[in-house]
Amino acid sequence: MSAAQWRRAMNGGLRHAAGSSGQPPVRVQASAVASGAAAVDPYADSDAPRWLKFLWRTLSARHVLTFGLALVFPFVATPFFTFQVAAQALVLGLIALSLTFLGGYGGIVSLAQMSVAGMAGYALAILGASSTPISLDWPWWLAVIFAVLIATVCATVIGWLSVRTEGIYTIMITLAFGVAFYYLALQNYTLFNGFQGFQKVYPPHVLGVNWRDPLPFYFLSLFWAMAGYFAVKWIVRTPFGVALQGVRDNPRRMAALGFNVVAHRVAAYAVAGFMAAIGGVLMVWYNGLITPGSVNTGWQINILVIAVLGGMRHPIGAFLGAIIFVLLQTFAIDLIDRERFNLVIGVVFLAIVLFSPDGLLGLWAKLRRRFGSDPSVTSPSHRQ
């Protein structure tokens, strides 16, 4: 069976049995109805380019609304909210998205995503410009390309080494990689500059724009966050993505069907690594520095917290989780003026996960079911 056939079979199955594709076709019809333009897909049989078909099928009213809000937001909000809350949430969301992709669609929970982002960050700081003499001062674009490349290769190697493990063992081995990288960065002085790391790693001035100003940096992050979001939505509908979900649901069966399970998983690590690497470059530019503290165990787990908080069923969950996470990190200290504000953060996390094992997305689905608009067009609860 070819991958294309497999995909058709999967989609066909979904119509009846609520299978497990990222985007069940039911929702496509729902959005077409909602927009009121046409009940049928006008591109169904035409020769329109594939990306146009893809956009038509993927975009719905709420995408346009969200995008509109995201565009207007920085002009209404203060620079502080634009930079520290929104841009930081987008960057962290992008890194968490790489975990959502791995976990939600590949069934692989990797704790090394922040380390991959950190590798990109360190590579950028070492190859590009910083206030430390170790930096090689390459032009920024070359440094960025190599940083992303190096981190993606590292992510692939991590994937290749941990691919034969499952479940909790994957978590353990990727955690081990992350901790190893943290100590390498902490104790190596010739390359990583040890405890002090690299200061003054700033985004370049291009086209007369200082990309570290709140507004340009926000749009830079927004661009890459959206690119990541749509890339995930697109990938999970490609033959590769559908096969990956097959691997997640039943690897033995997929192997029996002739799919190379290991190759699919390693490729998923590579794709996720690429996304995390871009997130890592943005993260370093956001902070303006990188130290071992940016890749410690706390941050590795924070990324998992963000992904779980938002919900792993849909790529938007990563960004929702990141917004909640950043808001709590920033403002929890105002709620309780003591040394105990981390308690607030913990309690909120606990409450969300307790009341909805699927994070905010699950909470939203629950609410919608309860006050349900029209149960026939909403997607089934076990969609993933």
């Binding site: 902490l186 040890g194 002090q196 200061q199």
Partner: protein, 423 residues
Amino acid sequence: MIEETTVKMTKRIWIHSVVGAATAAALTSVAWAQGAPVKIGVLATLEGPFAAGGADGMRGAELAIRQRGGVVAGRKIEMVRASSNANPDVAVNAVRKLVEQDKVDLVVGPLSGGEGIAVKDYSKTQPNMTFINGGSGAQATTLQNPSPNFFRFNTEGAQWMVGLGKAAVDKGYKRVMVIAEDYAFPYSQVQGFMSEFCRLGGKVPVKAWVPLGGKDYSSVIARIPKDVDALLVVLGGADAVNFLNQYEAAGGDKPMMGGSITVSQDVLNYRGKRRDSLVGTISAGPYADSFDGADWKAFVADYQKNYPVSAGGYPSPSLFALVYYTNMKAALDALEQVKGDLSGGQAKYREALSKLELKMPTGTVKLDSNRQAIGTTFVTEVVKDSKGDLTTRVLRKVDNVDQMLGMKREEFQMGSRDVPACP
């Protein structure tokens, strides 16, 4: 309590404004601004490895405000707390929130070295604000690309060790091995010791850099040469006790010298067999518990009154309480001098800060051209008191210690693993 005074002050200011507005419509915004509260953001590490120190730093800063009754130049003081975890990125996020969201007038903080450098870099993007250090002691903060609006009224790691080199030579130590943690603060400490010790003819044949929070010192102990006269141990509290235990188990007998944060209460409470050999251990730092200056005793008493042990305070103010107190006191004294006037991008205020001669419990502090403190260092020695407990006594008080450690600015190099060297 500061909260109570705040409430009272708010009421008073409210009445002031109402009365003022009723009597004279010509009450201008300038006059109003004089009575408006001054918001001071304080950043310390309330999480992470230095959480206990950060909490005591907050106490120190608050003590400086309480001593003024919560008012400076007729303006109520509002303290806005922020927390970090000793990571520079977290510190910058917290400071950015203080400045851009909470709209504070001044920032006092952060606590640790890497954070200080990062906040100093951030301060350049806010030229109309004034940043005053909290407890951070990295040399680079004021030596490399200093920021015109970042002030540090505490002396740093290298300055804290001035005087120890001479004390070592006086004790007859000619060859010393250094055992220190592998990051910026111990580099500075070792430099502060060695620059003086080497100048006086001492030799340091081996320097062992160990990881922060290390548990196993056996490989370091094996490297201690037979012919050294003493060990300089620059390790944090628990690490120092670990080292002592293992050194004792290995049968070591060299006398010790300690860094500024090494000879802490942990070490003095050490109960091992080598306990008596700790007597005579010398170290140096920006303060000494046993200093008998009247101002210092008054400061300690004030701290103990405000923060009794039952309320979470220490028996005696810690280093972090002292440095946060120092910097907050400088911030308030300068505010008093300019009569609370922070207009014009705080230019007048910064002028006043630069010229400030700060009267501290430990001595007078003034700033150099990089806005770094020139202050006092104490050399102390561990002694046994009448009850048989170990305590410290002040051997010598060195005034006017500057960041160049007595060298010329051109020939001064920042401390690192290999600088300075005299094998």
